[in-house]
């Protein structure tokens, strides 16, 4: 069962990402990114990361995607301003195959020697991956990173205010 779910959602995520990088229309790309992120969230659940899956859907697929779509709408992008000639197809294929070849090198030759953590764990003791478990670790061992994210968010807010405020004052 897990195997089938894995392959199905792995396939959708790859398809989604391929659509994302090849479709002309950014709205379609955004939606296919949602597809990929959603499939990844399912895989997270498969990996017993329930809380992360939740965040993935809420924050990533929800908030960030909305931001993308909002920008597209906000700028009122018309079709012609979105359709530029992309790179020629052979070049594209060349780049993609080169990159895949390289990753293939690592996948098939390199990863063969990974020491014995081959199979996935189907179940872990209870708090693993739940809000409780993640929260426990987050607020004890990783308190500092957690606090630092607040600074990061402040920086981002500041940046958006500075850069995108409507009028040039």
């Amino acid at each position: 069962m897990e195997t089938i779910i894995f392959y199905v959602f792995a396939a959708t995520s790859v398809i989604g990402s391929l659509v994302l990088v090849s479709h002309k229309n950014p709205v379609a790309s955004a939606l296919s990114l949602v597809l990929t992120l959603f499939s990844t969230a399912v895989l997270f659940i498969l990996l017993l990361a329930h809380f992360i899956a939740l965040i993935q859907v809420l924050v990533y697929a929800g908030a960030i995607m909305v931001l993308f779509l909002f920008t597209v709408m906000f700028l009122n992008l018309r079709d012609e301003s979105l359709r530029f000639d992309a790179v020629k197809v052979p070049v594209k294929l060349g780049i993609l195959s080169l990159l895949l070849l390289i990753s293939g090198y690592f996948i098939f030759i390199g990863f063969k020697k990974i020491p014995p953590l081959n199979t996935m764990v189907i179940s872990h003791p209870e708090p693993f991956g739940t809000v409780e478990g993640v929260g426990e670790v987050l607020f004890s061992d990783y308190l500092l990173p957690f606090e630092l994210t607040s600074v990061l968010i402040v920086v981002a807010i500041l940046g958006v205010v500075v850069i995108a405020k409507r009028r040039f004052d």
């Binding site: 690592f106 020697k113 990974i114 308190l143 600074v151 500041l158 940046g159 850069i163 040039f168």
Partner: protein
């Protein structure tokens, strides 16, 4: 980690907190006070940096670690923090008049500079990948924003988005590398990683390589150097100055920390990589700088070349740990003075709405503003490595450590490169001293002048009396090596 430990740790990161709090205060006061010119914010920002500086000095007396080993508050980090704080302080002082001239929003500018500095400080002491990654991002995102700060300027916006996209690319590579290392070792703490490191596990190799790539991007070295000239040229002048010293130093800090503390087992391997990287970085930076008309862009290429010289020190650490590392630290310290100074002069000479950028913009400087011309001359000579400036001593140290570690070819290439570089630095002086005046120069500005005076005197005095800063670097490296041996 219990709450007492959390409290203790929070108290220990006073210098970082001081900056973050000052940044927040600047934002709040900005919101509360109406009106446009808010000079108070300038002084508050400086005060915050001063407090942070003083608190940071305490770390030279007492080495500690905070947040269950996530941060190592040692002398090594403290030394880098001095570089960041001094850099940020002088950048803010230099920026005040510039902001007014370019009509930018001062408050956000100061706050972002402070946040960025706090990110660098986290970075310099991080011993765990999560804090490291966040420090890295706080610094980077602040700097992306600062690069595109002048949004009326097409060039500034272009620099901002280019930096963001390429930087984001590098961050993704870093994150993937960290993931691989985490997967292989099961931990994100550098000490633990070093203990569990297994050369035969390809995950470690790939992870190390990817993390190294991200750092090479941040220091602006070959083959990931191409963003440097574009972003340096487009960013507001004062930001470029800060970026060229602060971000570079922070990237080197974390490069050293991660490579030596985490991946020391692969030392032979990454030393080889850095050897090649260093050679190409120096050569490409210098060659490209030769034909530049824009001083700003020329300095950008020169900063690539300087990254190459600094890498000589990192490579030399293969044979001569102490000498090599301290020469790196010292070089970054001296680079802060001379490069910030060079950009400072250009910032100072910028007119309302128009930056002082090309060689023609400074021709005839000697006749109109002789003292500024002298300052520019000193910075250029220092960058070229002419004694008795600080730049000479730094280069001398780096190359000496290279010789001691028996990387003769690298040193020969480095020296040839620095001879080559003299050409374009001196060309600036030819224009400043021997050409007819072509443009107007701005009037005297006391605050910027103070900053330039500090930088000029620093460049000369620290060059003539290099020991105090050199001893400090030795001390910092000692603490770093001690921690390495203690494992």
């Amino acid at each position: 980690m219990d709450s007492i430990e959390a409290l203790r740790s929070t108290l220990l990161i006073g210098p970082e907190l001081a900056l973050i709090l000052t940044g927040l205060i600047v934002m709040v006061i900005d919101a509360l006070i109406k009106g446009k010119a808010k000079t108070e914010l300038f002084w508050i920002a400086l005060l915050g940096l001063a407090v942070s500086f003083v608190l940071n000095l305490e770390r030279f007396h007492q080495v500690s670690s905070a947040f269950a080993g996530a941060l190592s508050l040692d002398e090594f980090a403290a030394y880098f923090n001095i570089i960041f704080i001094v850099g940020a302080f002088l950048a803010i002082v230099l920026s005040k008049d510039y902001i007014a001239k370019m009509d930018l929003r001062a408050n956000e500018y100061y706050a972002l500079l402070l946040f960025s500095t706090s990110g660098m400080m986290i970075l310099s002491s991080a011993k765990e990948f999560m804090s490291l990654f966040l420090g890295f991002e706080i610094m980077s995102i602040s700097v992306y924003i600062l690069s595109g700060f002048n949004r009326r300027s097409t060039r500034s916006s272009e620099a901002g988005i280019k930096y963001l996209v390429l930087g984001g690319f590098a961050s993704a590579i870093l994150l993937y590398g960290i993931a691989l290392i985490y997967g292989a070792s099961g931990t994100i703490f550098l000490d633990e990683i070093a203990k569990r490191f297994d050369i035969n596990n390809p995950l470690y190799l790939a992870g190390t390589a990817l993390i190294l790539v991200a750092f090479i991007f941040k220091i602006g070295a070959f083959p990931l150097h191409q963003w440097v000239p574009d972003i340096y040229e487009g960013a507001p002048m004062a930001v470029t100055g800060f970026m060229s010293v602060g971000v570079k130093a922070a990237a080197f800090a974390i490069l050293l920390r991660v490579l030596f503390e985490g991946f020391s087992q692969l030392e032979t391997s990454w030393t080889q990589v850095l050897w090649i990287v260093s050679v190409f970085t120096m050569t490409i930076g210098n060659l490209a700088a030769l034909t530049q008309i824009s001083i700003k862009r020329m300095l950008a290429y020169s900063s690539i070349a300087h990254a190459g010289y600094i890498l000589v020190g990192v490579v030399a650490a293969y044979g001569e740990k102490k000498l090599g590392l301290s020469s790196v630290l010292y070089y970054l310290f001296s680079y802060t003075f001379m490069n910030l100074g060079a950009f400072g002069v250009l910032t100072y000479l910028s007119m309302k709405g128009r930056e002082c950028e090309t060689l023609d913009d400074i021709s005839g400087l000697w006749v109109k503003k002789p003292l500024t011309a002298v300052a520019l001359g000193i910075f250029m000579l220092s960058l070229a490595g002419v004694p008795p400036t600080i730049g000479f001593f730094a280069k001398y140290r780096v190359f000496l450590s290279g010789v001691r570690a028996e990387f003769y070819w690298l040193v020969v290439i480095g020296i040839l490169n620095s001879v080559l570089s003299a050409y374009y630095y001196l060309r600036v002086l030819v224009y400043a001293y021997m050409r007819e005046e072509k443009v107007e120069f701005p009037s005297f500005k006391p605050i910027s002048a103070v900053a330039l005076t500090i930088l000029t005197i620093g460049t000369i005095i620290l060059g003539i009396f290099p020991f105090y800063s050199w001893d400090l670097a030795l001390k910092a490296v000692d603490s770093f090596l001690l921690a390495l041996q203690a494992r």
